[in-house]
Symmetry: D2
């Protein structure tokens, strides 16, 4: 897995350069990026729209399907990082802080096997 | 920036452990996770819903607002990584492959300053 | 069912008056309304996020749940009608035209029991 | 405007018949329909993604654009009515009840020209 060696900053730079090469910062207002992210999240959902919850677990067995799903997931990550770039949010810091809030909200002992 | 040193795999492990500690893999069918991701993307959008496109650029100046936005962005990233975990998608590979497709679809010379 | 007697125009007028009474047309740019609609659609999804596809069919049996779902559905319809109001789209005409396209795209004989 | 004469029940029947003719009730679990609705809402957003808030008000002046927007809006309404059909929700009743809650939450005198 390349994810073992790749830093968040490396992926952020890829997104930054793609945008800068096209002079697209002018379109990358956070409002627009948040819409773009939600649109890509919806395109990812499309792959799971009509299958049952259980069948969605084996979607990777359908040939070509996993690449389609990975493409949409990549778009989601790209726009998430574009927002982080635009608003100078450190993803690592944001994730650890939010996860600490989640730990407090959903203590493992109480929520084991239950989500509400 | 911690993003300079943190690998994708490190963030993936944080998400994996949070889920495993609660025995939540049973709920983490890709269909459910794709819905969760879209819901978090919508919650991120809420912060930009009624402001103008231009005003969204300075949203970080409103006290407390940037932390709220960063929290929602963190939720989006968490669910994106949960999907990557569930379907064993390498985010780095997926992003680079998708970016190569985007480079072919939107050549920099032709799309400079234009998005369509 | 009141839906038997209520016209689309009647519901449109309810939405129009609510907006006008608050002088909210200034916020009701179609871009903002499209975001609001997507956000409400996500809130509706929240009720079905962690249940299985089959279990979602009986969600009405859980006390209070159907009113919550109906509230979110109402929000979706309100924003859809707000967009129709703002852009002077006749919903009946738009729906019939789109349904004719759907009939052509998904002939009943060929798509019986299959969606792709 | 046909909306002046068309009842909600008439539009509901159009959706019902389209679904029944294809034997698609089996796919129309509320969970799936809520996803479909959110996906269509995202497709509607796409038309407003990169334009400014103000420019979105005149989107109808671009030839062909209003029909595209109306098509997506129709899809949103269709899925909203499909959910109403599936869960036997009376749209008129749901909307009036929700609007009464909105009136209480946002008194006109206090929210005139302000949304928060």
């Amino acid at each position: 897995m390349a994810d073992r060696d790749t830093t968040i900053a490396t992926l952020r730079a890829i997104v930054h350069d793609f945008v800068a090469d096209r002079d697209w910062q002018q379109f990358h207002a956070p409002k627009n990026l948040a819409m773009a992210l939600a649109i890509e999240a919806a395109e990812l959902m499309e792959h799971f729209q009509w299958v049952t919850t259980e069948a969605s677990r084996t979607i990777g067995e359908e040939p070509g399907k996993l690449e389609d799903v990975a493409d949409e997931l990549a778009d989601v990550v790209c726009y998430a990082l574009a927002i982080a770039n635009e608003l100078s949010i450190d993803v690592d810091t944001a994730m650890r802080r939010k996860m600490a809030k989640n730990e407090a909200k959903y203590p493992a002992a109480r929520y084991r096997g239950r989500y509400e």
